[in-house]
């Protein structure tokens, strides 16, 4: 019966259902790989990625983000597609996905495909379908654009490996930062099972790197690396626990990105928390800022948080917060401080730090120059001297700086501003965030 209904469903309806079901995955970047067209296919990849549109919630649309199917044998509490939910179900065929990708890509709607899926029948059966789809796209259509595909935990490693040679990025979402959280809210998922494909992709990428060093034209395995995602605020973890997991992912598995997604209560379930302020967007924002500090600013989780101080100060960005607790390291002399020291100054981002280092070799800098280079003086002024001089007299004193910083109104993304709003913050990929 159900089968017949699906047969009659047209492509528009399916796309509506399967895009809607995929929208909670926050990863939509097409970054991390640079690939020219070979001259006989369609597509290429640009390392920084390209946004093709923005959705009504202000998030960048880069990839055709869809589920292959929203049928699922699992029953994860937080998920709209869980087995026990009564929602319209649909499944694509590999051919339909190819038609959509090629049709959209030629029209420059997208950079490529983001293909996730519910678990249809079994992890193996699902992974096989994803593999077939990618195979068709790459080998029959010679599609050379970006492909991000999910590795389905529990699937045969051979299938995951084959798929990895066709994809640019693979991901397994950790969803909940701790094993306890997982047990409570996603009882069919087990931590070790989820880590297995992550570990596999990591070690095969290592091997692949050696092959590529020997044979430049060896096929590339997941060249844009892995990413993962954690839900924030569904199961009581502290920021410290979350950042520890993220740091572990970056260091141990060379994860390219960890995404954080403020918990959105899509299901009525007594096991799920009711957050009075709606999705914890400001908290999510602080985690992204801290994430930048880990990846680009040389900070470690232990410097930012500790077991006794397990959560970020929501009122202050983590870098300012750190600086205020380490006033003994300031002020920093902009003409002399090394790159890594500059990076730690609130108001100096990694781009402006780079520009400062280059420019000061060729001339003396003043505050006007710094401003032009993108330094946010409003914040930096308390922490720097330039040519031995402060911009105007300020005190290097915690209360004083704190008061002034708070008066100066941090530029928060719309939506994170008041925690009660349901607005979306979205510039996940904007390094200016963590300045």
């Amino acid at each position: 019966m159900k089968y017949r209904i699906e047969q009659q469903m047209d492509l528009r309806e399916k796309l509506g259902i399967l895009a809607d079901a995929a929208k909670y995955d926050v990863a939509c970047t097409s970054s991390g790989v640079e690939r020219k067209n070979t001259g006989y296919g369609v597509g290429n990849c640009i390392a920084p990625g390209i946004c093709h549109s923005f959705s009504a919630d202000g998030r960048c649309i880069s990839l055709l983000k869809i589920l292959f199917t929203n049928e699922c044998i699992f029953d994860c509490k937080y998920c709209i597609n869980r087995r026990s939910n009564d929602v319209p179900r649909a499944s694509f065929t590999p051919q339909e996905v190819c038609d959509l990708v090629m049709g959209f890509y030629r029209r420059n709607y997208i950079e490529g495909l983001f293909l996730s899926s519910g678990i249809l029948v079994s992890p193996d059966a699902t992974m096989e379908l994803l593999y077939q789809t990618l195979y068709k796209l790459r080998r029959e259509y010679h599609f050379q654009g970006y492909i991000h595909v999910k590795a389905i935990p529990g699937a045969d490693p051979v299938l995951i490996e084959r798929t990895g040679y066709l994809a640019d990025r693979m991901s397994v979402n950790l969803e909940l930062p701790t094993a306890e959280g997982l047990r409570a809210l996603a009882p069919q998922k087990q931590r070790p099972k989820m880590l297995a494909p992550i570990r596999q992709v990591y070690s095969e990428r290592q091997q692949n790197r050696q092959e590529l060093a020997l044979y430049r034209h060896a096929p590339k395995f997941v060249p844009a690396g892995q990413s993962t995602q954690m839900i924030i605020g569904a199961s009581g973890e502290s920021d410290w626990q979350i950042m520890k997991v993220a740091e572990h992912m970056y260091r141990k598995y060379e994860m390219k990105r960890v995404f954080y997604s403020a918990f959105l209560r899509v299901n009525e379930d007594r096991l799920l928390p009711v957050l009075p302020g709606g999705p914890p967007l400001l908290r999510e924002h602080r985690l992204y800022q801290a994430d930048w500090l880990l990846r680009f600013y040389g900070f470690g989780t232990e410097e930012l948080l500790s077991e006794d101080r397990p959560d970020f100060n929501l009122l202050l960005d983590p870098k300012c917060d750190w600086a205020l607790r380490h006033l003994e390291q300031f002020p920093v002399e902009v003409m002399r401080a090394d790159y890594h020291t500059l990076l730690r100054v609130p108001g100096i981002g990694y781009r402006s730090a780079g520009r400062i280092v280059r420019a000061r070799r060729l001339g003396t800098l003043d505050y006007e120059n710094l401003k032009k280079m993108g330094v946010v003086l409003k914040r930096a002024v308390y922490f720097i001297t330039c040519g031995g001089k402060q911009m105007y007299p300020v005190k290097l004193q915690e209360d004083y700086i704190l008061r002034n910083l708070m008066d100066g109104k941090e530029k928060l993304p719309a939506g994170a501003r008041d925690t009660s709003g349901y607005e979306q913050l979205s510039l996940f990929d904007d390094p200016r965030f963590s300045v």
């Binding site: 640009i46 093709h52 202000g58 998030r59 959209f104 029209r107 060729l362 280079m373 510039l427």
Partner: protein, 263 residues
């Protein structure tokens, strides 16, 4: 007496100006470059018109690349595409300064130099526009298979984005039409691209949309609507990231209000 070299407002035009100004041997302090020619002449200036000359421009390009590196050239090419009265002279000064440095490559980081900084800023502005169009261009398939799209940017970005699409869609015939300048980047399958001036848009559009076009546009709208998270709707943020001026030719916004969340 200062001699002002008036050049055409294109990369070729400006670099020809650079060539002529240098070649005049009047000394850098006695020459100036300008792309404006509004009849507003200054006293003690002598005005000469330079005719854009690809050969001269090519020579300058080779010198820039060899002595100052690809990055410096890219900076100049992007800056030249952005409307600004001072840019031609700033580019000239940047080149002069760069060629006098022991290592010309350092010029791109020399942000304490006001003219280099102007070129740097113009490059950044133009790059933003070009990079956005790489994403926001919407091709429509015509009955003859040609993919057609239209842009309307403050900067003259056709030549900056054409190589990107040529690499991406090497086997397609496509055209990107610049509404403001009535010119187009045109690509022939398997061959390459070129810029055509004074293009008749209606003529290009003559064949009409292909049979499949409407269906793909409809599918794209379905996707665009479905992918937004309703609980996090934020039109203000969407508008700041994708300003109205870019939406004009994007079919997902092609309803009277220009808003995607309306049917």
């Amino acid at each position: 007496m200062i001699r002002v070299f008036q050049c055409e407002d294109t990369l070729t035009g400006i670099l020809t100006g650079v060539y002529d100004a240098w070649d005049s041997r009047l000394g850098h302090e006695h020459v100036r470059l300008s792309t404006v020619c509004d009849g507003n002449l200054e006293l003690f200036c002598e005005y000469v018109q330079t005719e854009p000359d690809t050969e001269k421009a090519e020579k300058v390009i080779r010198t820039i690349k060899r002595r100052m590196g690809e990055e410096a050239f890219e900076m100049i090419a992007y800056a030249a595409s952005y409307p600004d009265d001072q840019k031609a002279d700033a580019i000239y000064r940047m080149i002069v300064t760069g060629l006098h440095l022991p290592d010309g490559r350092q010029i791109t980081g020399m942000l304490t130099h006001p003219q280099v900084r102007l070129v740097f800023e113009l490059r950044r502005k133009a790059w933003h526009i070009a990079h956005r169009y790489m994403g926001f261009v919407r091709f429509r398939e015509l009955e003859n298979g040609v993919l057609f799209s239209e842009i309307d940017g403050e900067a003259d970005v056709l030549a900056l984005i054409a190589p990107h699409f040529a690499d991406r869609l090497p086997l397609e015939n496509w055209a990107v039409y610049d509404h403001r300048r009535q010119k187009a980047a045109v690509h022939i399958s398997g061959k390459g691209w070129m810029i055509l001036e004074d293009v008749d848009k209606e003529q290009l559009l003559e064949p009409g949309a292909s049979a499949q076009e409407a269906e793909y546009e409809a599918l794209w709208k379905v996707f665009h609507r479905a992918i937004g998270i309703q609980e996090r709707t934020n039109g203000r943020l969407q508008m700041s990231l994708l300003p109205r001026k870019f939406r004009q030719f994007m079919n997902e916004f092609s309803c009277p209000e220009g808003r995607a969340d309306r049917p």
